[in-house]
Amino acid sequence: MYRELEKCPRSLLVCEKSNFENEKSSHDTHVSKHYFNHKVSLVIPECRSLPPKLASVINNFKKYFLIKDLPVYEFLDKDFLENVVWNGALYALSYKTSIDQDNTIALLPSSHLILSVDKDTYEQLGLEGKPSQYNHKQPMRYVVTIDLTEKSMAPGGKRYQRVLSSLKERVPLKSHFLLARHNSGVEGDRVLQSLLARYQWKDHTPVVRSHTLKDLSCPSLRSTDLRGEQHSCDPSSFLEWLGAVSAGVSCDNTATSFTSTYVCPEPNTPVSQALHCTLSGLLLPEDIYSLLQELRRYFDEPKFTSWLSLTVHGFMDSPVSWGDREHGFHKGGENFYNFVLFRNQDYWLHMGTGSNDRCPP
């Protein structure tokens, strides 16, 4: 039919297996380096409702702000830089901007301002940048990275003035922004509030949805068998199953169903119920990390299930995926990671990206 459509662009999946108690385990850096997460989904087999401890962690996720038409130079305000940006843990991402056609702006908690701009804007902006990695013959997109902690970027400095005049006079970039802060100092709050007061804004709390799935078959996993070589399912079919579960696709392949012929990968075990809980919004890595820590404690009490899974999806239009690795959108813009936690504190980590993305760490 449509050959081109059937062809799948390359995607990367990095799988690793380790134990939380292992000193060299780098699960914490992987979580904290994935800055912009928009959805977390939890699948716990043999569980009816969220345990109260987990529920309290989930409800304690930080709220975030949506500011409308915020000019980018506001981030360079002296007061704002000193009290909010340099104090760390400010996450800002332009909202409703597509990475492949609009100017996308992100402020990382490491105080890096990333402007992913199209060619025309770049030529007018007058700030040094690099052509995006996902260009064809002619670069149509450039990425400008500004380290706000640099000495020359101190307010009043030469480079600071240049960046400010670029963003204020030459190209007054503005966009809707999603903004969240992890550290909440008194002074920082005051400055942030004064910024918010000048623009139209709204605060949001992450949306929690949870429901129980009844009578489904789960793939049986063994923590020692990451690749699925010893009669258990391999990572990609496991992730496919997870996706089917969260999308509500039936896996029983009944003869009367014409929409889906999907079957749960072999070998599987029937499970009477499973909890599926999703959170969406601008979710901070710090909150996700505390959720992960809480999930580890889930196995402190004896449970029927031998594993549970935590999937974290990044924003598809974020200019970065892990750290400052450039992210692009080709067909899906996916960048996500998935933890499978086992009873004995072993874990699997799957990190997946689409075609316009560097390899996950």
């Binding site: 025309d120 770049y122 030529e123 007018q124 902006l125 007058g126 700030l127 040094e128 940048g129 240049r162 005049s165 670029s166 030459r170």
Partner: protein
């Protein structure tokens, strides 16, 4: 011929003709005496002159007028110019203020060229005029460039070459900016015109004769 005339008679001829050839001195004496005797109207000097002038003018020829050679002052050649740095601004003259009068002059010139700039004048007309105008003294700003560090440079144009603009900035710095891959903005009395440098790679004298074509979109 002369040699033949002056040659001595061969000895056998003397014998046949029964004459004795005179010796050279004797012959000379005889000739002068003979001429003197026969040409009594002429003085001895004149006769001598005629004997001396052997050339005979058969045609009338006018004397050519001697033309006075005009010595043209030869200019310096390219190498000498380079060595002498004729077209380079000396560092002590790189002052923004020094060029402000030039800018005033330029503004005057453009106003005259466009018959006075009014808010309601047709911008297209002005642009047509500006295309052929001289830009020395204009305040140029780099509006767009493939090289980001040129963007935002403002100053008075002091020298235009085929491929570069030389601009003096407010900070009294002389900047050389390539025309290619940049867009320049020129402001006069509220009219801002953009110049696509890549299409402007001509000397200003050549530009006045060039025909610019209208294009829909131009990319850098």
């Amino acid at each position: 011929m002369e040699a033949l005339v002056n040659a001595r008679l061969p000895a056998d001829h003397e014998h046949i003709l029964h004459i004795v050839a005179l010796k050279k001195k004797q012959a000379e004496k005889f000739t002068t005496a003979f001429l003197k005797k026969n040409l009594t109207s002429m003085t001895e000097e004149k006769i001598n002159d005629i004997v001396q002038h052997k050339a005979v003018l058969l045609h009338y020829a006018r004397k050519k007028k001697e033309r006075k050679k005009i010595k043209r002052t030869k200019g310096l050649n390219a190498k000498q110019r380079r060595e002498l740095k004729v077209f380079q601004l000396k560092p002590e003259n790189q002052k923004y203020e020094l060029f402000l009068p030039l800018h005033e002059l330029w503004k005057q010139y453009i106003r005259d060229l466009c018959n006075g700039l009014k808010p309601d004048s047709n911008p297209q007309n002005i642009q047509q005029k500006l295309l052929k105008a001289d830009f020395h003294g204009a305040v140029l700003t780099v509006a767009k460039s493939k090289c980001p560090s040129y963007v935002g440079t403002t100053g008075i144009l002091v020298q235009e070459m085929k491929h570069v603009f030389k601009i003096i900035t407010m900070e009294d710095k002389l900047k050389v900016i390539p025309k290619r891959n940049s867009v320049f903005a020129v402001e006069i009395d509220g009219f801002v015109s953009h110049i696509f440098g890549s299409k402007f790679e001509l000397r200003s004298s050549e530009r006045s004769a060039k025909k610019f074509k209208v294009k829909g979109t131009i990319d850098l």
